[in-house]
């Protein structure tokens, strides 16, 4: 039986190089969406927002926001195509971005 949970992931761009990163359970930022914390309820979402604001003040990241995602069998998939492209790289250049660096999520390639 596959398990599925819907929630929100906090993302941003790393300040020094712009790379797409996701807020993890330990409060760090990872290039891999599968290491992100999926906030399932409002308190958890608020905690993500607070931690992201701290990271902005600490000049680690910029442009943070939450997006909808689903965890299936322990792997996280962004619900919207825009965020799926951010977690992978350009759908027209599979040799570039996270999909080429080994930091992409488990869901690939971008469909549609």
């Amino acid at each position: 039986m596959s398990s599925e949970a819907k929630g929100q992931v906090m993302t941003a761009n790393r300040l020094k190089d712009g790379d797409v990163v996701f807020l993890t359970r330990s409060g760090g930022w990872s290039e891999k969406i599968d290491e992100a914390t999926l906030a399932l309820e409002p308190l958890a979402v608020a905690a993500l927002e607070a931690r992201a604001s701290e990271a902005v003040l600490a000049n680690l990241v910029t442009g943070h926001y939450l997006f909808e995602a689903t965890r299936v069998d322990g792997k996280i998939r962004a619900d919207h195509i825009r965020e799926r492209i951010r977690t992978l790289g350009p759908s027209v250049r599979l040799d570039l971005g996270k999909q080429a660096d080994g930091t992409a999520g488990a869901f690939r390639p971008v469909e549609g």
Binding site: N13, K16, G18, V20, N59, I81, R82, P90, R93, G97
Partner: protein
Amino acid sequence: MYRYDEFDAKFVKERTAQFRDQANRRLSGELSEDEFRPLRLMNGLYLQLHAYMLRVAIPYGTLSSKQMRQLAMIAEKWDKGYGHFTTRQNIQYNWIKLEDTADILQALADVEMHAIQTSGNCIRNVTSDHWAGAAADELADPRPVGELIRQWSSLHPEFSFLPRKFKFAITGAPHDRAAVRVHDIGLRLHKNDAGKIGWEVMVGGGQGRTPMIAVTVRDFLPQNELIAYMEAIMRVYNLFGRRDNKYKARIKILVHELGAENFRAEVEAEYARHPAQQTQVEEAELARIAQYFAVPTFEKASQATPVFEAAKRDNAEFARWARNNLAAHHVAGYTIVNISLKPEGGIPGDASAEQMRIMADLAEHHSFDELRVSHAQNIVLPHVKLEDAFAVWKKLNAHDLATANYGLLGDIIACPGLDYCALATARSIPIAQAISRKFSDVAQQENYGPLKINISGCINACGHHHVGHIGILGLDKKGEEFYQITLGGSSSENASIGGILGPGFAAHEVPDAIENILNTYVKLRNTGEEFLATYRRLGPKPFKEALYATT
């Protein structure tokens, strides 16, 4: 080519040093993102979907070989080995690091380039006819005036905080290849009844969410009044342009809301207040600039071109490329080489560092060291001897740069779309690729004749879909990409905005929809009638009926 004088060089160097300091202060936390954002944008640095993106200005689309090689070096050293030539005749790098940006700006300054005013609510890079100085139909090279506008508008204190961004386009030819009627200000050089040369001044064109064709505010403006008159227009815009709503802040909205006559009256009243002697273009200054754009020393070529003719006879592929990608030069024995950056299934406007170097080498050896970037995302070698065309083609062909589809169906304009752009609502490039693959037969493309398919990935219309003969706009419908098709747009001297044909399509349906439209055209066209002419003669009805018929 314009060469920086001492002032230009010092200015760009200082600006780079300022940015280095600003970036360091941002990285150390001395500047917040809110403080830093306008500073990075003033230097062309955006934050996009995957990383920072740097947009580099290529004034009026003109590059030297040395500059093109430097762009290649930047692509390899600081990006991922390629660059994207844009519909603004600029180049964008998609994988830039903030910590590298000052070094990149220095590398640009080393070859007299920069990224200033490629963003922000200021006067942006002036675009021009990519055949300027070479086209057979041209009255005069518009680039000296383009350079004059660049110098006048660069960091102009009065026009650095406009209600919204502001784009100039200029052409010196009757056939408009610079899309001047869909720019904030379009300038067209022409002769009056007395045989004198002057500028038609058009204001209030644009695309985006509210596409409009510019209105002519002066039919004939003497060249020495140009800057003063531009200042009058800019002042009226700065004073009356809306700042309360960014979607209504472009000058086109002001022209529309005031009405063309009232707008013209405001400009003329402002112009009348100008002390003309202070702002008249100094002939000596214009002459100084113009000497950098002097006509190259062309060889007196013979009328006979035996190498060219023999190559066409013996090589069908070359003959097709020569037929589609060469254009008439104003000097006998020379030709304009249009290098298509649209290979079958490729990404429109992308070029690898290696391809950039190949094009730079060809320009150095065969085109008086000059290249142009076109707003249709192609590269031009403006001055090639016809007798050298076959040698140029062979080298292009060896590097996937000899696709013979210039001006045809495969020569698709597409913005980066959702694959790269943070504003996009749908992908554009995969649609361009799917169409390109479906219609890969260039003979079939030739049968369809001149055709512009333009694709934008959002309503901001960077892919110029409003003025495509066939325009495709990608939108988001409840989280899914879908595409609206427009027909009948044009950016030429008979500019028009395309009309929406009907309900949109899923991505996989678009190539078949294009085929349906083209089949309808082929069935209904008169002999020799181009797509746009057929559409204008018949209107959308037969196309709509064919596309949405439910049988």
